[in-house]
Symmetry: C2
Subunit: 340 residues, 2 copies
Amino acid sequence: MLATRAYEMKLSEENLIERIRRRIPSAEGGALQMGIGDDAAVLRAPAGADWVVTCDPFLEDVHFLTGAHPPEVVGYKALARATSDLAAMGARPEVFLLSLAIPANRTGRWLDGMLSGMARAARTFGLRLAGGDTSQPSGRNPKIALNITVIGTARRGCVLRRSGAQAGDAIFVSGQLGAAQLGLELILRGLHRQARWKDLLAPQFYPAPALQLGRWLARRGVASAAMDISDGLSTDLHRLCQASGAGARIYAEKLPCVAVPGGLASLGLEALAMALHGGEDYGLLFTVPKRLAARIPRRVVGTRLTRVGEIIRERGVVLVGADGKRAPLQPRGWDHFAKI
Amino acid sequence: MLATRAYEMKLSEENLIERIRRRIPSAEGGALQMGIGDDAAVLRAPAGADWVVTCDPFLEDVHFLTGAHPPEVVGYKALARATSDLAAMGARPEVFLLSLAIPANRTGRWLDGMLSGMARAARTFGLRLAGGDTSQPSGRNPKIALNITVIGTARRGCVLRRSGAQAGDAIFVSGQLGAAQLGLELILRGLHRQARWKDLLAPQFYPAPALQLGRWLARRGVASAAMDISDGLSTDLHRLCQASGAGARIYAEKLPCVAVPGGLASLGLEALAMALHGGEDYGLLFTVPKRLAARIPRRVVGTRLTRVGEIIRERGVVLVGADGKRAPLQPRGWDHFAKI
């Protein structure tokens, strides 16, 4: 209501809805009984399923930089990031809601690009758009804000939790650590415009939620605790330990660190530091009782799994260096905003 | 990740989570199997229930004005507004997620006030906080943004829809029309600071989603179509007609218009215009087959119901004036942003 006084309309509601609807998979079917077009969406779970729900903001100049992240990347990554929380629970993605605050001057080509990236992510992860809302942010230099709610299903009582790790459990991570941070370092130095580093940007631009691994772990029931690594291993491992009332010891030499190409040596980037504290890799961090640890394969559906340490009774996280020296590992990942 | 470079942390994650959690009902129980503290929440529906899901943004200087809307009002209204979509579906509120973008300098007293208003709304509507996320908006003059996802349950196959109205059906509205707009007009003129108009602000500050009425209609199965009046009758009636493939005729004399006190006569506010085009009343607009219309009582659980017109075959909405003259009614409510 207030905004009608502050802004001139640049596009009609129907036009905008129609564009979003045409671009992003949103047909009713599966768990989606009633989709876009009413006051709310209606969902129906398969028998014996629980719902798993999470929401994630994706804000301009906080979670993405317009100069560095093309609109396709914004759409893809916003949805991938939210969906990673479902992977961490072992859930199967079903539907999502999009709340989009967008200045009128970004509703042309930028919006089209964003929707095309988001549509690709939705198809990749098996998500349908169930509804949402659009609005126009206020202020002189208004920013784009996406808020995404992702909803999935899990077999009743079969979700992964952060809180079950016990002393002696083996600690695993999936994929590589620090690869998304390496891409970010290139962006922050303006090197993302150089074609020869293009491949290094993919982990930063198009993260892959570990959906299949999450469901594999949930089905097998082997993980005592699990979460996704969104804010950096040092921070997320602290969270897992805190939720489980335990501590952890990890080994620097065992970490599947990103490889920094020789051509970037002059930047002084430390692979270990990026692996420990870099966020946005969206692999899974999980623990397995010691007696089952040997049964964990090296790869699950193409995703590499690495045993990096063990849960200990004493609180806190200890890093064992290549020289065998032990030092407390502080949470130095992205911890300034809360996942409640 | 990006934001760690741009901002100094003013509060720790744990601190902020703890404050939100302490203030707002969030205990596990009922439909909430697993709440705050993991990567996502887990929900379980009662047997034979569907889930009803909606999300709504509530943005500073768009949906609220910091100078006029106290923080308690922001928290209450943000949740009431989103919950009204559940009322419109005839659903029972269960849980909500809060995505909060808030500048560090608003995390003190402002946040406390907002949380206290939101907690009151949650208790009033029977909602538990199931999770969410917090972040810090960027820019020189960053704005507060709330995004709320509300989730409810409905008996399987018993939700209200916008799309079933047929020619001949009687049109009803609940409550008063234009009362929230009258409050807004006072705010826009700076009159909200005068104690004598305080009571007139309540409909603007603390809207009451028609939850009991919505469930009553869904249980009885008498409504052929229903939605909430969030953006003004003229706009929302057009939407209901469009979804139903029909038109409508309403009578100016029958509308339950807000009463404008004599002391405000000099402002030249027209009660009829506010009733037709003012938004944020959050009553229900619903249609009932003609043969059942006489069975609709004047009040349901304290909410006044008024028959204001009928559905017609011809597209468009016609307003019949007090003098009997007919004129097309254009959608002039809040239509600049899309509910998808």
